[in-house]
Assembly symmetry: D2
Amino acid sequence: MPAHYVYRTEFDVRDYELDSEGIVNNAIYLHYLEHTRHCFCREAGFSFEEMRKQGMLPVVNRVEIDYKVPLASGDVVDSRLWVEMKGPRFVFHQDLFNKHTGQLALRAVVSVVCLENGTLSRGETLASAFSEYLQ
Amino acid sequence: MPAHYVYRTEFDVRDYELDSEGIVNNAIYLHYLEHTRHCFCREAGFSFEEMRKQGMLPVVNRVEIDYKVPLASGDVVDSRLWVEMKGPRFVFHQDLFNKHTGQLALRAVVSVVCLENGTLSRGETLASAFSEYLQ
Amino acid sequence: MPAHYVYRTEFDVRDYELDSEGIVNNAIYLHYLEHTRHCFCREAGFSFEEMRKQGMLPVVNRVEIDYKVPLASGDVVDSRLWVEMKGPRFVFHQDLFNKHTGQLALRAVVSVVCLENGTLSRGETLASAFSEYLQ
Amino acid sequence: MPAHYVYRTEFDVRDYELDSEGIVNNAIYLHYLEHTRHCFCREAGFSFEEMRKQGMLPVVNRVEIDYKVPLASGDVVDSRLWVEMKGPRFVFHQDLFNKHTGQLALRAVVSVVCLENGTLSRGETLASAFSEYLQ
């Protein structure tokens, strides 16, 4: 299935994110992915702060990441995503590109479920809020 | 296939690893997993510093993580792993338990390949070094 | 004034805490210092979780750090502190040693004030809880 | 002495940088400060990668930080600095503002020395490279 990205943002690799090999540490990419999802939610009109106020808590329950080409000092991340629902899960398909080379740095699939007041929801509130972005 | 752990270590959750929900941030678990692999390699007699001196660079090329029960302040992580080879890949099966409750917090499969002098190796040097731990 | 340490703990340097120079990144030491203060509070019988439940929020308002000798992979941190009150401030004097060499790696002075229900307190509740540790 | 900023950059607070109080963790500000210094060096024409290639290693040897008003989710950091030499030390005066409110979030003084091929230098190479920025 071809990717139809619904959101895209850019940010710089910061030197403190490098590990002793001089490349971005593998855990930092999860920060990049989470940051992108949060930016997406804010732009889509439903920020994490707002969710929390309404008693909703999105929780990551599974990630799959394929590391392709490492990012390094001076690189700019071109971060893109599209999202679909599978039952109660929001499945984010997230690709990170090296902006300057155009190379795919990392491909991830991140499953998120939504707790409402502490129990697993069917995600209806979020599905409604994000309806125009869901594939 | 039942897990036959070949290595086990423990460490404390540190409060700065929590996110604004008061639970360990999802990226931090990758730090826990990496730290455990590095401790395992050191104990097995072949530390990352030593690998680097010999021109070897282990690189994570895929991770799959299932998040089960979040860890929080005051928790102690009981981190266990077993490892197998699949072609040139070292596949680490890593489980993180909450020591006090005994609950499985997270289950991960982490694939690592080894670069030798910049090119993908068949992993023979590492396979030999870790032969008694491989399943 | 000679340092009379009232608390001491140890922990390992983790390889992901290194930067691209192969030494612990300068920001990570603040994590070490915070982790030590939190462990101290828990051991002294008044953990951060407990403070929060009682409406208290300790906040760092100033740090001074002298970096002496960098820590690196495989090092064990021997972290020590003593604490005094100056007006409403709790002033933590924190030294990090390299356990194996005995060298002083870092010397820090960290000032903390305590908010109670959102406003600056005179720190009496904490001063009472920690009275036997204050110098 | 009034501050004559010679460099200014902006970046977003990322939600994973918050701690369990919902404010930016105190250690993260050191990342912000380091990132700003690295961006400054790159813009001034002498990046850290370049320094390293020439055998130079800038090392932080002292920081003083006054925390004023915490940053939180959604905030944009307006980061400014000016720099002076004191003997062999480059003294960076760094202020972080909350872009939207204009409030000073943090004021820092960061001393950096430069190792050249492993020994403390008088900083002449860097002083020459950054001469037009030094006060």
